[in-house]
Amino acid sequence: MNSSSFAPKAPPVHITDTSVFINLHACGQGERILAAVPNEIIVARVVECELDNETSRATGEHAFLERLVHSKIVTVVDFTDEEFELFDELVRDLDDGEAATIAIAAKRHFIPIIDERKGRARAAMHVGKEPLWSLDLIRHSSVVNTIGGAAGIEALYLALRIGRMRIPFDRVDEVIALIGEQRARECTCLPGYKARFGA
């Protein structure tokens, strides 16, 4: 038995899709949230390229990712040959960011964070388990402990109202309980909004 067997197991590495950065940027606490997560946060070079366009530069999303990389909160990785092959297969019907995130997650056994339905289904198929949501990052216990309950709830509310973050239907009650019904009414992106609150 070698000594490494006794070392504490590192938390699994997370690899994030483009939309995660958009949500985190919108919530106003993105940098603090990612810094508080104990897991290493990886991003595919392709995702970085995806945010390198006129629109993302104008919204500040590109600069947000640059800051995260510069302060070493997020690490950008390139494909291996094997990952390139899987990317080639996936990119025919997924956008570049999703395809890259899934390809790297599948080959390196990272946990992908993807909110888009189609991307999540493909990720589950290739990675072998359900990907995480942006919501999981924002509500991570370490994040709540570090930035504080009130700030965490504010970040969640802004990600929903400003970023129109996608969340799973079965967690709507939990989210509304956190941000309160009054503020939930302002978040028209919530699944089943009309049935719950009317037009």
Partner: protein
Amino acid sequence: MVDLNELSAKEIGQRLRLAREAANIKQDEAAGFIKVSRPTLISIEQGVRRVRIKELQILAHRYGTSVNALMRREAVHTDLLPRFRKLQETEDRHTTEAIELFNNLIKADVELENVLGIGGHRDYPPEQGINDGDVAKLADKHAQGLRRLLGLHGPVADIFSIIQESLNIRLYQRKLSSNSKVAGLFTYDEKVGACMFLNANHPLQRRIYSASHELGHFVGTRRNPEVLETDEKFLSREERYANFFGRAFLAPADCFTQSFLRWKEVTVTDKVTRRLVILLANQYNISREACVRRLEELDLAPRKSWEWFKDNGGITDIQVEQILGESVYRFDAVKTDADRPLSHRMSLMAHAAWKRELMSEGQLAELLKIGRIELRKIIDEIELEEETDEQLKLRT
């Protein structure tokens, strides 16, 4: 096993060439990006050598597109940008802005139609050609021929609907920079059909005239792309033809003359008055200038009448308002539609493609050239309207 959805090396090569040309990048430069020789790049673009995924990713990024956009079966790749660029003697910011927007709208429209399995009905009247004879007479003949085909009598009530619904021409009306001189664009491509763009910053009557002018290009010389500017001099045969066509289609000699005479017979003076011009222009949905010019052309008003009006205080908006009252402020639905990040039609197509999981948020945002949050807002708005009473369900 052969994947039938897989694009051939030739198809990818062609798409790469079109993307490179659209990005205005030379072959040498592109070859340098992927560290191959120019002949190798040419063989990739010709489909002789299949591009490698690593190379494809680098090229896509350098060309300002994505690998997915190059690989999607339904994606539309045309040479519109380089074709329009050839028209420009010098690089002009406003023209470039207009043709890029036009190109993006066409690509998005056609791909969304392809993805959703809609559209595709195209049965255009034949191109007439303008090589022989007097352009004014030709334009008049062709304009009347088209009016007959469309069953039009008298003033044209809604030229935009005629263009879109009766002729199946793709029509986009969006806003360009406030000081842009571009009034309209027209192009025809085998893959996408006939397409027209109008600057939605311009007032309704100006857009009606621009649309009629572009219709002239569609009827007479549809193979050549065209840019119409507000101060255009109409020097070429094609432009003079389209200019005559525009007026003859909106204000055909016989019924325009008849309308003029009907106003004239109830006017005491034997002069062409401001009131008469305002009433006639309003009846035919044309500008005051276009109306006077048409009267001159048909010898119903003395030559240089418009210049006379201009030198003598013009025909002002206040005078128009005094005569027509509030009806002068017609509701212009296009203006409000053009204020949206996407037109209503494009928004609905994007929502449908997303809802049916045919395209992802990232793919749509890239195709439509809008931010993801903006796209989410559009999708959410439509989603909120979706839950309707069962009784309102369409019978299919």
